[in-house]
């Protein structure tokens, strides 16, 4: 029989072999990273830009922030060039005194050049490392380097990484971009019958804009979609939450009507015809409210007006979708909608016979039938516009 103290000591020893919380490191010994930029630098080299926050400058706790803010930047952007991301991140330690804390990263920006030459090699590290988080939002920098985005200073927020993440989220609600995190990206890369697409961030002037979509084939960029095409993509893949659709009134082409979409849902149903052609039937159900209208001030019957608007809206949404499908089929030859996946689900035998040539030969020739059903729920607080007399 073991003596009790020995048994206690043994149990405490066992505790050491339990799962690992071995890394006792205080929060103050970390540099907090909020955004990471990856750019291609001539040939095989990559340039890493890390946005590191100065916690004291960010936290504006009442009394503590005397003289805070001002013209001092709340973050530092440090860069390092190396052959792998891992080495480059370690190289950053030359310029930063504390170990970098990756888990707090909010956004990863991939430079356009890097994305054109293939990203597969470079996301290996962020997926492999135990400290990075799979929930990081990934965006592609269009027309600028990732470094410029990372170094961008925003007046409204002292944490630029979080600011970018939030603006991306806002655009996602409107359907103008797509939010994808590291895990989703790895999934789309690995998935058969679906190509990768990542939201775009650009910097046309002083401010960054996160609208549009970068379309990949395999792991390389083949082109960009504008925001309306992106919304078409979002309709089809059921990603629109609350968007405002503007459309031209049929009665008066100079005037516009704006509809706020309340609920959008879509269903994709593939169909294999007898002559081995694939048809995609996409059913989109939309309900929305009239948000603003300039066109028909003297409309007598609200119901009639709604019917009329419903038809216009159907047309507008259908156009968005068709444009998105068309550009992917003809120009990019990349099935970002995941049509292949649906075919695989419903006709696995057929899929195995075409999976090799799907993107190049089959996908561009698919006939896509889009059926939009619109319901106008409410007209806002007033049923008729004000009549000027």
């Amino acid at each position: 029989m073991i003596k009790r103290p020995i048994a206690l000591i043994l149990t405490f020893l066992l505790m050491i072999f339990c799962t690992g919380c071995w890394n006792n490191r205080d929060l103050t010994e970390y540099s907090i990273l909020t955004a990471l930029g990856i750019d291609k630098k001539d040939n095989d080299f990559i340039e890493i830009t890390a946005q590191i926050i100065k916690p004291n400058a960010v936290s504006s706790s009442g009394a503590g922030s005397n003289g805070g803010g001002g013209d001092k930047k709340s973050f530092v952007a440090v860069t390092h060039v190396d052959r792998t991301i891992f080495a480059a991140l370690r190289g950053l330690m030359n310029k930063v005194n504390n170990k970098i804390f990756y888990s707090s990263s909010q956004v990863i920006v991939i430079g356009e050049d890097l994305a054109r030459s293939g990203i597969c090699d470079y996301i290996d590290f962020v997926l492999r490392d135990h400290e990075t988080q799979y929930t990081n939002t990934v965006v592609v920098a269009k027309g600028v380097t990732a470094k410029e985005i990372i170094e961008q200073d925003f007046e409204l927020s002292k944490v630029p990484g979080a600011f970018i993440r939030d603006t991306v989220q806002n655009s996602v609600f409107r359907g103008f971009t797509k939010k994808i995190n590291l895990l989703g990206m790895a999934r789309e890369l690995a998935l058969e019958g679906r190509e990768l697409s990542i939201g775009v961030i650009s910097k046309p002037d002083q401010d960054t804009i996160s609208e549009g979509l970068a379309v990949f084939r395999n792991d390389k960029i083949v082109g960009f979609m504008d925001k309306y095409q992106t919304r078409g993509y979002a309709y089809i893949t059921n990603r629109v939450k609350s968007s405002v659709v503007e459309m031209v009134s049929k009665n008066d082409p100079k005037k516009v009507i704006a509809i706020e979409l309340m609920r959008v849902s879509s269903k994709i149903k593939p169909k294999l015809t007898k002559d081995k052609k694939v048809e995609m039937n996409i059913q989109i159900k939309v309900s929305g409210n009239i948000g603003e209208q300039h066109s028909v001030p003297t409309q007598k019957n609200t119901d009639d007006f709604c019917m009329c608007v419903e038809k216009d809206l159907e047309e507008a949404i259908k156009q968005d979708c068709e444009k998105a499908v068309l550009i992917c089929q003809k120009e990019f030859k990349s099935d970002i909608f995941g049509f292949g996946m649906h075919v695989y689900d419903d006709y696995p035998k057929y899929w195995s016979s075409v999976s090799n040539k799907w993107n190049e030969e089959i996908f561009p020739e698919i006939k896509v039938n889009i059926d939009v059903q619109v319901k106008i729920l409410r007209t806002g607080l007033i049923s008729k516009s004000i009549q000027v007399k």
Binding site: T11, P55, S104, A162
Partner: protein, 537 residues
């Protein structure tokens, strides 16, 4: 892993059994001692000559300035008598009027029966009168404040119960304050205390057994229980353990508590304390045993379960939904008080990943420039809080303000602005400290648990906390208080008992007493609430 636990528990059980065997052996040897004593008792008789008694008493009470002897003669019969007492224990006027005066003024002609019957039936005008024959008993009675009347040529003396020592009036206890219900509290006087209980339970089944404990102090102890409700096994066990106490003095019930509690070094309280008669009566009615000691206003109740720490007398006085909410709050506060500092340290030094991003920035900003690790910092603040609490408890009231000012300004605000402690940690130390006051019975064990968890978390992070929780849970599940499982009614689970556990149902629906306590006896407490006209007719 689980095999290991089983082994451990059986090993503990075995230990308990071997302990019990030891106790049995002990009691046997004691019994032998007792029989030895009885041989001596033959010369313990009161001498029949009053001079001998006097000499013996004076010898016994030499140098006791409060010892009084009054010699007198019984009226016309000319029998010498002697009154021995300790001064100050009783009202002298009563002694003079009801005892001395009738004796001196007795004018009966001749003695018809024996002197003793005469005294008992005709002369002594006192209600509490008892005959004693043993000398040592008479000495004990004197020490207890009674008056002893010795008569010449008799080996029997009278014990006259006049004892009414100075006592505090019944007042509201400072330690347990209630808004509703009785405001009476126990006092230092044992008799007052038993009366406070008896007044609430007017039933002959409410038993008060006296035991005298303490070789030097000879303190009166009362063991109270309600026959037919309290399980006889528990009552016997309590009596056995109390009798087994062999110590110099019982100055407070806390001494008894330590002697009778289960296990040698229990980390959690297994004996309940209360100063309120209504609370103790309620516990007696649930089948518990109360232990009262002369000189202490605190009454012990056993068995004590973990759950009782979260119960308050006021829970039963109405608004069961509010009481349920408060109970859940108390449990929550208990966990906050023991886990919060440890959790903070674990999260700050091991698991930064789980802090929400914005909170992390705030915490990082407040911790910037602080020279200590989170653990040292937490330790400083937690210990500081304990110091302040202890100081507040022990200091004379007049200095109270100084301590609160120093505590609030110097240790709170100045520590933060000097960069020795971070503001969140001051909040955490204060919060966990205040939360510990919400569950007073567990406050002391909570302070220790907090430190243990803090240390574990600084070594192993969250898994250290998990480990301590795991070990503590095993410990608590194994624990018993007077053979009642400590975690009842949760482990082992008793569905009926859950009605009065973390939540409390309306009092009319608590139909039975706690099953764990009054095992199979007289379980029914109420038949429920009658609705409608049935009850009116």
């Amino acid at each position: 892993m689980f095999d290991f636990i089983k082994k451990k528990t059986t090993f503990k059980k075995l230990n308990v059994i071997s302990n019990k065997q030891k106790h049995i052996e002990n009691s046997k040897s004691k019994a032998e001692n007792d029989s030895g004593k009885s041989k001596q008792e033959s010369n313990d008789q009161i001498p029949d000559k009053i001079e001998q008694v006097k000499a013996k008493l004076i010898n016994e009470f030499s140098l006791c300035s409060d010892f009084n002897i009054r010699e007198l003669v019984l009226g016309t019969l000319n029998v010498r008598m002697m009154i021995a007492s300790l001064d100050g224990f009783f009202d002298k006027a009563i002694l003079a009027e009801n005892i001395i005066e009738p004796i001196l003024n007795y004018s009966g002609e001749e003695k018809t029966a024996s002197i003793l019957t005469l005294l008992k039936e005709r002369i002594l005008c006192i209600s509490d009168l008892r005959e004693i024959t043993r000398y040592s008993e008479s000495v004990d009675a004197i020490l207890n404040g009674d008056v002893i009347l010795y008569t010449d040529n008799e080996t029997t003396a009278f014990k006259i119960g006049l004892s009414s020592p100075e006592k505090r009036t019944v007042s509201e206890p400072d330690t347990e304050i209630t808004l509703k219900g009785s405001r009476e509290g126990f006092t230092e006087n044992l008799r007052t205390n038993t009366i406070l209980l008896r007044r609430r339970i007017k039933n002959a089944n409410f038993k008060v057994e006296n035991i005298i404990l303490g070789k030097k102090s000879n303190t009166n102890i009362a063991i109270c229980y309600i026959k037919n409700i309290a399980a006889p096994e528990i009552v016997e066990e309590v009596k056995k353990r109390v009798r087994r106490i062999d110590t110099d003095a019982i100055l407070a019930t806390g001494y008894i508590e330590q002697f009778i509690q289960d296990g040698r070094y229990p980390l959690f309280p297994v004996v309940g304390n209360s100063e309120k008669p209504d609370k103790v009566s309620a516990k007696l009615l649930e089948g518990r045993v109360a232990i009262l000691a002369d000189g202490t206003p605190t009454v012990l109740t056993v068995p004590f379960l973990m759950l009782e720490s979260f119960q308050s007398q006021e829970d039963y006085f109405g608004e069961y939904y509010f009481s349920s909410m408060m109970r859940l709050l108390r449990v929550f506060c208990y966990f906050v008080s023991i886990y919060l500092p440890g959790l903070y340290v674990a999260v700050i030094s091991f698991h930064q990943t789980i802090i929400p991003f914005k909170l992390m920035l705030t915490v990082a900003a407040t911790r910037e420039g602080i020279p200590f690790s989170a653990f040292i910092e937490a330790l400083i603040m937690v210990v500081t809080f304990e110091i302040l609490r202890e100081a507040g408890l022990r200091m004379p009231r007049a200095i109270g303000q100084a301590v609160s000012i120093v505590g609030a300004i110097v240790l709170g605000d100045a520590a933060v602005s000097a960069g020795i402690a971070s503001a969140p940690l001051v909040i955490i130390a204060a919060l966990s400290g205040i939360c510990s006051f919400i569950v007073p019975p567990l406050m002391k064990s909570g302070a220790v648990m907090r430190l243990i968890i803090l240390i574990a978390s600084s070594i192993m992070g969250l898994s250290g906390i998990g480990f301590v929780t795991f070990i503590t849970t095993i410990y608590l599940c194994n624990k018993e208080s007077f053979s009642v499982p400590y975690l009842a009614p949760f482990a082992p689970l008793q569905a009926e008992g859950l009605k009065d556990s973390l939540i409390i149902m309306p009092i009319w629906s608590l139909k039975t007493r706690p099953r764990a306590l009054s095992q199979h006896r007289d379980l029914q407490r109420t038949t429920g609430k009658k609705l409608g006209s049935e009850g009116d007719s």
